[in-house]
């Protein structure tokens, strides 16, 4: 487990890690800079929000004028969503000040008054809400209907030498997504997932993940996870417009679609809360 996206980037480049979840613009920028990695799947859809202090002066987006907003990286969808919101509200990029901050630090910074808002993925908006000092100003989908953030990136040498291992990884994510999104069982399964992911993977209070995954259940979605051309071409366009990508890059250059295609026939895990193993 890492604490920030720049560290994941370095670990991928150095081959300490062969795959990783990172924000989509960072993966595209890495590929544009010649780093041999490709996006093979999405981690989730939605799940990012701009959060402000509940008792603060920011009641609507225009109130952010002159305020300091934390983002996870210059190369993040959480930054791009702010640009979209600025345009819709007739504001200019100079009207706000963005600062890069490691995701686990933002809720504390908002509580301490070091920042006025943050644009971040879950569970940090939930953390601020649950602690009682934060309020979601808007969820990303309000300005970006098909919003995506984290994607699964794999080193090119692994894609070439060990495609079967990559397919197993993608199949597992696809099956987990289907399992979490099964309509009649969605709530119970999300509560169960929050418990074991919180305790064994994220080292976070399971109540926090439960909040993020269930209030409401559409807050983060795990289907569909196939990388779509229209979604990524929008990200590339926004990156170009906001000055973090210095050339156009073709979809095929940074996406490897075969694993998502291979995962389309997968079914949800045969597992119910309380079972010993998933099959």
């Amino acid at each position: 487990m890492f604490q920030g996206f720049p560290e994941i980037k370095e670990a991928l480049i150095s081959n300490q890690m062969q795959a990783g979840f990172m924000v989509a613009p960072m993966a595209i920028a890495l590929r544009a800079q010649g780093v041999p990695v490709k996006i093979v799947y999405l981690g989730h859809r939605y799940g990012s929000a701009v959060t402000v202090r509940k008792d603060g002066p920011v009641k609507k987006f225009a109130d952010l004028k002159g305020k300091t907003i934390a983002i996870p990286s210059r190369f993040s969808d959480e930054r791009l969503i702010l640009f979209r919101a600025l345009a819709v509200n007739g504001m200019k990029p100079e009207d706000i000040r963005m600062v890069e901050m490691a995701p686990p630090d933002v809720a504390g910074a908002l509580a301490a008054g070091a920042i006025d808002a943050f644009s971040m993925g879950e569970p940090y908006p939930s953390q601020a809400e649950m602690a009682g000092f934060g309020r979601v100003l808007f969820h990303a989908r309000e300005y970006w209907p098909d919003y995506i953030s984290c994607v699964l990136v794999v080193r090119q040498d692994i894609i070439e030498k060990r495609p079967e291992a990559v397919q197993v990884l993608v199949d597992g994510i696809a099956r987990s997504g289907l399992w979490l999104e099964n309509p009649p069982k969605r709530l119970a399964r999300r509560e169960h997932a929050a418990d074991f992911v919180g305790r064994f993977y994220f080292r976070q209070d399971p109540r926090l993940l439960k909040w993020a995954l269930t209030k409401p259940v559409e807050r983060v979605q795990y289907q569909p996870l196939t990388p779509l051309r229209k979604d990524f071409e929008l990200i590339v366009r926004l990156m170009r417009e906001t000055g973090v990508l210095d050339r156009d890059i073709a979809f095929e250059e940074y996406i490897e679609p075969r694993f998502a295609e291979g995962a389309k026939t997968q079914t949800e895990w045969a597992y119910e809360p309380g079972d010993a193993v998933a099959q």
Binding site: G4, Q18, P103, K161, Y201
Partner: protein, 52 residues
């Protein structure tokens, strides 16, 4: 057993116990063993941060 010998053996035992406790607590042996496997058999290391 001389006092000097007792002290030396105690120090060695203490260091051994602390070392064993450290290795049991702080070393992820599954990662160490995975890194020693042939590349074709290794599990992929997948990086993530605690966000959705």
């Amino acid at each position: 057993m001389t006092p000097t010998r007792k002290i030396v053996l105690s120090v060695i035992a203490w260091v051994a116990i602390i070392t064993a406790a450290h290795m049991a607590t702080n070393v992820d042996w599954s990662v160490v063993l995975n890194d020693r496997l042939p590349e074709s058999e290794r599990k992929l290391n997948v990086a993530y941060i605690p966000v959705t």
